[in-house]
């Protein structure tokens, strides 16, 4: 079984982003970048399936400019076998990403594609579902458990009311939630080894997909700031404030 894992380079989750003063975008100059945390979970799941003997090959793919090779190398150091960069510096929406990934799927013919549920920069939460729709495949989103057996995969999903389990025929698309696993760290020897693993580059322009997004960002502004309030001395003062000042309790 072959697994394809799309990964995205994003701002490190610890960094609090700032909006540019001209309100055109956020300022990412000199910002620490990393693999999207949900993609790390996706890579980990694929590697575990390989370690269990369920998967035979794990291929990672990232769409972006040269810099995303850094995250592809990280995934190779974690245990992926092969990497593909779909090179473009266009600002893509999830629909364009999904269409490019569909092209990669057609070449690679994976049995399972594991994506993150959400990029922590755009907060879109769309790409996996769109890829499933375009390739007419079933989807198991927000997975906290993935069980592959006999040509199908059982996915336990984190939903608003609790948990739901669905069974999907393979090939299938899965997106990861936080509780699926705890990603490992890359070791130094594996980082060295990863340098010799294959990383192929495909030009996005060669895949025949229109890369223009129909959604234009008009402006980006900072959120309304909340200012710190006051410290109360004890429970009695807290209750007094909530009753008589904020008037949120009776």
């Amino acid at each position: 079984m072959k697994i394809l894992v799309p990964i995205k380079r994003v701002i490190d989750y610890n960094v609090k982003v700032r909006v540019k003063s001209d309100n055109t975008d956020v300022d990412l100059t000199n910002t620490k970048m990393a693999m999207n945390p949900f993609c790390e979970i996706a890579v980990e799941e694929a590697i575990r399936l390989k370690e269990q003997g369920t998967a035979t090959e794990v291929v990672v793919v990232s769409i972006g400019d040269k810099a995303c090779q850094e995250q592809l190398r990280t995934a190779l150091a974690l245990g992926a076998d092969r990497a593909i960069q779909v090179e473009t510096d266009a600002k893509l929406g999830s629909l364009q990403v999904a269409k490019l990934l569909q092209q990669v799927m057609q070449k690679e013919q994976p049995d399972l594609v594991i994506l993150g549920k959400q990029s922590i920069d755009s907060d879109n939460n769309q790409t996996g579902q769109m890829l499933a729709a375009l390739s007419k495949l079933p989807q198991g989103t927000f997975a906290s458990k993935v069980d592959v057996a006999d040509g199908s995969v059982a996915v336990t999903r984190e939903i608003d009311g609790g948990l739901q389990t669905v069974k999907l025929s393979l090939p299938a698309i899965v997106t990861t939630d936080l509780r699926l696993n705890e990603p490992r760290y890359a070791t130094l020897p594996n980082i060295m080894k990863a340098k010799r693993k294959p990383l192929d580059i495909i030009a996005a322009a060669d895949l025949g997909i229109a890369l223009e997004s129909n959604v234009k960002t008009l402006k980006v502004t900072p959120p309304a700031q909340r200012s710190a309030g006051i410290k109360v001395a004890d429970v009695a003062e807290l209750i007094d404030k909530l009753k008589n000042e904020a008037k949120v309790i009776a």
């Binding site: 701002i11 982003v17 909006v19 629909l95 999904a98 549920k117 959400q118 922590i120 920069d121 755009s122 907060d123 879109n124 939460n125 769309q126 996996g128 579902q129 769109m130 499933a132 729709a133 495949l137 079933p138 989807q139 999903r157 984190e158 939903i159 608003d160 009311g161 609790g162 948990l163 739901q164 389990t165 669905v166 069974k167 999907l168 936080l178 509780r179 129909n214 959604v215 234009k216 960002t217 008009l218 402006k219 980006v220 502004t221 900072p222 959120p223 909340r226 710190a228 309030g229 006051i230 410290k231 109360v232 004890d234 429970v235 807290l238 209750i239 909530l242 904020a246 949120v248 309790i249």
Partner: protein, 309 residues
């Protein structure tokens, strides 16, 4: 111009999110149609028909839609996009987020996720980077597919009387099947609908200690939430997580107990009207957004609070 709203429900009850969707739709077009897709969900359609501003309720009830599997429902929704439908709206819940991007891709349009405001019929406001930036975006797509952050909209009134049109349109597939569900039973209000939310974090130490929050929640009619750390550690169920990647809440009163205030947690609660933080670390970042901060040991403070209420 018409808006098609996908109703949020569990086959028995219409969820309060739907009322908020109608109010968002009011800013977009006159003609609002509400789709109730499920199984044995006539009661939901009847509740939906009472929402003011809804012109027509379309009821599609069939066993294949019992669990709203996205492979089925997306195909159905795409079928409903005829003539003058210009907008499709669903709540940014796990149900809406599951199906709507699939609909958008099938229509070959982009989805705009999590809108918090409508500027014009093609221009919307949405948070990005865990709410640390707010983007205003404009789309030229013919059909606008939008998920709505319902905490940002008021609920529509319920003095309407729309017609219910029953349709039969079965989109079965043999690629996905429902196996089971483990749903949390609770007498408390739903997190996203509650006026008061009290949440516990890693500082609660274990699941049993959440009982300390329950007594207070009972007195305040509050829902109970949690940080990711509390959920990951298995103290409480996943559906209680508040934050960037959990539920977004904006109650009148949010009480954070033993929660440090990471940006991902703040993303889910910083639009609450009044925020109270209880934490033993006076440097905890949660105090930077709290209206009222109480520094101290939660194990001493919570029993006092319950008693004083």
């Amino acid at each position: 111009m018409s808006v098609l709203i996908i109703a949020e429900h569990d086959n028995q009850q219409l969820k309060p999110e739907t009322l908020k969707l109608v109010n968002a739709a009011n800013k977009l077009a006159e003609n609002i149609q509400l789709l109730v897709v499920g199984h044995d969900c006539q009661a939901v359609a009847e509740q939906a028909a009472k929402i003011s501003g809804v012109h027509k309720v379309i009821l599609v009830s069939d066993e294949v839609y019992a669990h709203q599997l996205p492979e089925n429902t997306a195909d159905l929704i795409v079928d409903m996009v005829t003539g003058d439908i210009t907008h499709i709206l669903a709540a940014a819940t796990t149900t809406g987020k599951n199906v709507l991007p699939r609909v958008a891709a099938l229509l070959d349009v982009e989805q705009i996720s999590d809108i918090i405001d409508v500027v014009a019929e093609d221009t919307f406001v949405r948070p990005i980077y865990a709410g640390n930036a707010i983007a205003t975006v404009q789309t030229t797509d013919k059909v606008k597919v939008l998920t709505v952050r319902t905490s940002a909209f008021d609920a529509a009134e319920t003095d309407g009387a729309a017609n219910i049109e029953t349709l039969s349109n079965v989109k079965a597939n043999n690629i996905s099947a429902f196996v089971s569900a483990e749903l949390t039973e609770s007498e408390r209000p739903e997190l996203t609908a509650a006026n008061v939310v009290i949440s516990g974090g890693r500082g609660m130490q274990n699941g049993d200690n959440f009982a300390l929050l329950e007594g207070i929640a009972d007195k305040l009619g509050a829902a109970i939430g949690a940080s990711r750390a509390a959920v990951d550690a298995g103290f409480v169920a996943n559906d209680m997580q508040v934050g960037q990647t959990g539920k977004i809440v904006a109650p009148d009163l949010y009480i954070a107990v033993g929660i440090s205030g990471a940006i991902q947690h703040l993303a889910g609660m910083k639009d609450s009207k009044v925020i109270v933080a209880i934490n033993k670390d006076e440097e905890a970042p949660i105090f930077q957004v709290a209206d009222y901060g109480l520094v101290g040991d939660l194990f001493e403070i919570l029993p006092q609070l319950e008693q004083a209420l």
